[in-house]
């Protein structure tokens, strides 16, 4: 070993030095040696002793080692040894196979040395600076040392890192280190760093942690990946749990969408490794963190919406119905689906539509309820199914109606197993856990839903042959009085309280059975053992509800009479004390915290979260109602009456105002329609007036024209009618004129010729009265004819 070579080498004979002595010598050498090699050897020797002589090295050498870190910055080897030594001294991890006592001592030692180290906050800053050193021998032990310091004194070390500039950012850079060991140990460091410190969680997220972690998870094979995936998931959980700012950032960064592929499992899911189960478990937890009922309703709602839109919910439902999925993953998937659908109508509607791949296909809800009322199923699974059912019905009046409908005579379907049938079966089975679960589940179908409370009163159950059917309400009270297990009775009493509260008709139904009130008073007044206290308290609550929501329709059980009964049989004080047994029960406040039914053991399954809310609401009211004297009650009645009168008057006036409003509205409409009509008419009138004016004008013009035309030539009018152009006309006229002139000319010539002919004829006649008369007669004609042709 290095130590022996380095330390014993210089020693000659003599007694073996003790560990403390050797360490002291080494410390001296670290402090006084001028040669780097000597100091390095000494630190190396200290390192090799640091596990065996942890106490001695820690007390004697720490200051010297820190000094080395400050002064020997240039030699990465010595830095590495010093960091390793400090790690061995401070870390409690290496100690294995120790009994409890020794482990505790070791832990104390680690805490003690950590305190010593961080006494000067500069030491942490120094360590952060050293982490910037890229050399593996420095960075790796540096990471481990800081992790150990954080493990031992988390809060203080976190505080120092938080205020050192760029401290957190520098540590985030470790995730980008190409050397896997450093990246992986960097993850462990960041896990410790982010534990319970929201400010650091936010800075880490700001430094793109989500992106990087999701990338690493994908690179490592998602759920099939190894422990690195697990470490990434643990860190993600640290960053998101109870940190609304980071959750918002995660959602806004669209990282929810990146969770979906995590849950893509195959058909055959047998033989999952333990690591895969762990990974998936953490992945499911991450989904739940984003939609937890303790988050602000708005934030949860937007994440739920996103999970439906990106198909994450659908993927989870596939796992729900897949075969071979390990039971604990199945259970956690049910819990996750529960919170993804809780109070979100769209997601609840989708869940209704999910079918199990059975033959024939059955709704997932029915298949799940089968497990809830099945004694052989694991307890946690049954709790998960109950939670799922509750979340399905939370703020879901439609869903409540659908479940109750499967029990009603008109809508019952005898051919297939329905949710209602399963619940009734569970309610009256021999298994008290089934009784409780079914009672609570049924109570959730009635939560804040008056319609379903009244509908459920119609449910009749067939009993043994020959006997008349009995109502569901009656059957519940029957079983109650038969003195079954506490769990069964508690379940039934919670159901009855939920059912009849805020529903006077149901109260009347309940009181109608003559046996019920005597049974309750007997239960409350008796002096029973510790086990029965809760049942007594619930009986008191039930009786109280019968008073508070009583509409006095049954003469024997009016408010007044029931109160007298309490006073006579139980005593007011006693009654109130018994009522107080509910909230004083040790399991009550536990159930009041969270909606999810989680119980350490089946026997402790007693309270339902929603029911604790009902108790909170009613306890005070009932106490007041019982304490009130009849006179006070009367006064109150009167006040109520006058108030009602006032209300009536107000209502009447409101009605009047409403009527008048309607009238005014009608009149307004009339007025506006009439105005439009008038406008239209006016428009027509003015239009017509202008038309008339136009016509008048035209008439005048025509009149004028007519006068002028009369003066002018009529032929012009004719030619106009013929539509001839004036130019053409003039031309034609000229031609005509020309022709006339020619005609005249010809006529004159003709008459001249005539005269010539006449004169010629007469001269001829005069010249010869011979036989040749005919010939001469024809000859002048020929001459004339010849002349005419040549002249034209």
């Amino acid at each position: 070993m290095n130590f022996f070579r380095g330390v014993m080498g210089g020693q000659t004979a003599g007694p073996q030095p003790s560990g403390a002595e050797t360490i002291q010598k080494l410390c001296d050498r670290v402090a006084s040696s001028t040669l780097l090699e000597d100091r390095r050897d000494a630190v190396r020797a200290l390192k090799s002793l640091s596990k065996k002589y942890r106490m001695e090295v820690g007390t004697q050498a720490m200051d010297h080692l820190i000094n080395i870190l400050q002064t020997d910055r240039s030699d990465s080897e010595i830095l590495g040894y010093a960091l390793d030594t400090l790690y061995n001294v401070i870390s409690n991890d290496e100690e294995e196979e120790q009994d409890e006592n020794a482990q505790k001592q070791a832990d104390d030692l680690g805490t003690q040395f950590t305190e010593k180290f961080i006494q000067d906050p500069e030491h942490i800053t120094l360590l952060l600076t050293l982490l910037e050193e890229f050399d593996f021998h420095v960075r790796w032990p540096g990471v481990k040392l800081l992790t150990a310091l954080l493990k031992n004194q988390g809060v203080q070390v976190q505080g120092i890192i938080l205020v050192s500039p760029m401290g957190v950012s520098r540590l985030m850079d470790l995730l980008a280190d190409s050397r896997e060991v450093i990246r992986n140990d960097g993850l462990l460091l960041l896990q410790q760093l982010t534990k319970g410190n929201a400010a650091i969680q936010k800075i880490v997220a700001f430094e793109n942690a989500f992106e990087r972690l999701l990338d690493i998870i994908t690179e490592e094979g998602s759920s099939d990946g190894g422990i690195v995936v697990e470490d990434c998931l643990l860190l993600l959980l640290n960053l998101l749990k109870n940190n609304s700012s980071n959750q918002n950032f995660f959602k806004e960064g669209s990282y929810i969408q990146r969770m979906k592929p995590w849950f893509e499992v195959g058909d055959d899911n047998s033989g999952w490794s333990a690591q895969k189960v762990t990974n998936l478990h953490l992945m499911l937890q991450l989904v739940r963190v984003m939609v937890s009922p303790v988050n602000s309703p708005g934030a949860t709602a937007s994440c739920q919406k996103c999970m439906y839109q990106c198909g994450l919910l659908q993927q989870l439902c596939t796992i729900l119905m897949a075969t071979g999925v390990p039971a604990d993953i199945l259970t956690e998937t049910i819990n996750t689906v529960s919170e993804v659908i809780r109070g979100s109508q769209v997601n609840q509607d989708y869940f209704t539509s999910v079918n199990a791949p059975s033959n024939p296909p059955r709704p997932a809800i029915v298949v799940l309820l089968m497990s809830m009322v099945n004694e052989r199923q694991p307890f946690v699974l049954r709790c998960a199914v109950l939670y799922c059912f509750q979340c399905f019905l939370y703020k879901n009046q439609k869903g409540q109606g659908e479940i109750v409908a499967t029990l009603l005579p008109s809508t019952i379907d005898a051919n297939s197993i329905s949710a209602g049938q399963l619940l009734c079966g569970g309610l009256f089975s021999a298994d008290s856990l089934s009784n409780w679960c079914a009672a609570v589940a049924l109570a959730h179908t009635l939560q804040d839903n008056l319609t379903q409370k009244e509908q459920l009163l119609r449910v009749q159950l067939a009993t043994s042959l020959g006997k008349p059917p009995v109502s569901l309400l009656q059957q519940c009270t029957n079983i109650l009085s038969q003195g079954s297990k506490v769990q069964t009775r508690v379940g039934l009493l919670m159901l009855l309280c939920t059912w009849i509260s805020n529903c006077p008709i149901a109260v009347t139904h309940f009181l109608h059975n003559q046996d019920n009130v005597p049974f309750l008073t007997a239960q409350i007044s008796e002096n029973l053992g510790e086990d029965e206290r809760l049942v007594q308290g619930l009986c008191a609550l039930l009786l109280g509800i019968c008073i508070y929501y009583n509409d006095n329709s049954l003469e024997n059980y009016t408010k007044e009479k029931l109160k007298q009964l309490i006073e006579k049989r139980i005593g007011k004080e006693n009654f109130v004390e018994k009522l107080g047994f509910i909230t004083k029960h040790e399991l009550y406040s536990r159930a009041a915290l969270k909606p999810q039914p989680i119980f350490p053991s089946p026997e402790q399954m007693l309270f339902d979260h929603e029911f604790t809310r009902l108790v909170k609401e009613l306890e005070g009211l009932i106490t007041k109602a019982v304490h009130k004297s009849s006179e006070e009650e009367k006064k109150e009645e009167e006040v109520k009456k006058t108030l009602e009168q006032h209300d009536n008057i107000v209502t009447q006036y409101k009605e009047l105002i409403r009527e008048q409003d309607v009238q005014i509205q009608e009149l307004k409409e009339k007025v506006s329609s009439m105005t439009t009509q008038t406008e239209q008419l006016q428009a027509t009138v003015s239009q017509q007036q202008s038309q008339i004016q136009q016509h008048k004008d035209q008439y005048n013009i025509l009149k004028l024209k007519l006068g002028k035309e009369n003066q002018s030539q009529s032929s012009q009018g004719d030619t106009q009618v013929n539509g001839l152009q004036t130019e053409e006309l003039a031309q034609l006229r000229e031609e005509l004129e020309e022709l006339r002139r020619q005609q005249k000319l010809l006529q004159t010539q003709l008459s001249e010729k005539d005269v010539q002919i006449d004169s010629l004829v007469s001269s001829m006649a005069m010249l010869s009265c011979s036989n040749d008369f005919n010939f001469y007669f024809l000859h002048p004609l020929f001459v004339l004819f010849h002349y005419t042709i040549s002249s034209s």
Binding site: L162, V163, P165, M166, G167, V168, S169, A198, A199, K202, I203, F206, E207, N208, E211, S245, N246, N248, F249, E252, G253, S254
Partner: protein
């Protein structure tokens, strides 16, 4: 959901100047009159459009109190833009600007765009810091300046969007290394790669103009 770029902003300034209100007005378009002290840092986000591109703004609203100052410093390095806010009705918040600016310059990357904001411009009657003073301070330190009112929403959109425009221009000019996420800028998952040569060529023109 798809965006071309993602910018990280921080909002800094004295306590009570209205940093959280500015964020709330920008992300939720509402105003909360009661001063609810910010513990550490709170987160908000919104999508905007610049130059036809979808840009996602992730905004970290810091606590103004002195005791949180060291925590706030961790956010400078990773931010692309900072809104430095003072209250126009409180002179001291204006006087502290130098300290804030020193802090920011020291811890941020040198390209971080800083927008100086004089908030509560609706309270004109109680004004203690003139608009000209804010403008002068901004000019002197090379900041963009605006007066806003988180109450009336006046200029709130503009303050966030103008800061983004400035960052966007710097990207176009090639000043920012967009591949280094530590600068507070991230390219969107569906960023069209065909567009980038175009935008870089535009940027080249810009840069070229500067060179010549």
């Amino acid at each position: 959901m798809a965006y071309a770029y993602l910018f990280k902003y921080i909002i800094i300034g004295d306590t009570g100047v209205g940093k959280s209100c500015l964020l709330l007005q920008f992300t939720d378009k509402r105003f909360q009159p009661v001063h609810d002290l910010t513990i550490g840092v709170e987160f908000g986000a919104r999508m905007i459009t610049i130059d036809g591109k979808q840009i996602k703004l992730q905004i970290w609203d810091t606590a103004g109190q002195e005791s949180f100052r060291s925590i706030t410093r961790s956010y400078y390095r990773g931010a692309a833009g900072a809104l430095l806010v003072y209250d126009i009705t409180r002179r001291d918040t204006f006087n502290h600007l130098t300290t804030w600016l020193e802090d920011a310059r020291q811890h941020s990357n040198s390209n971080m765009v800083i927008m100086l904001i004089g908030n509560k411009s609706d309270l004109e009657s109680r004004r203690e810091v003139k608009k000209e003073e804010g403008e002068a301070f901004a000019r002197e330190h090379g900041l963009i300046f605006m007066e806003t009112s988180a109450k009336t929403a006046s200029n709130v959109e503009e303050a966030f969007i103008n800061t983004a425009k400035e960052i966007y221009e710097k990207i176009q000019e090639g000043v920012f290394d967009i591949n280094n996420e530590a600068n507070g800028i991230k390219i969107g998952p569906q960023h069209p790669t065909t567009n980038s040569p175009l935008s870089t060529s535009q940027g080249g023109q810009h840069a070229g103009g500067g060179c010549c």
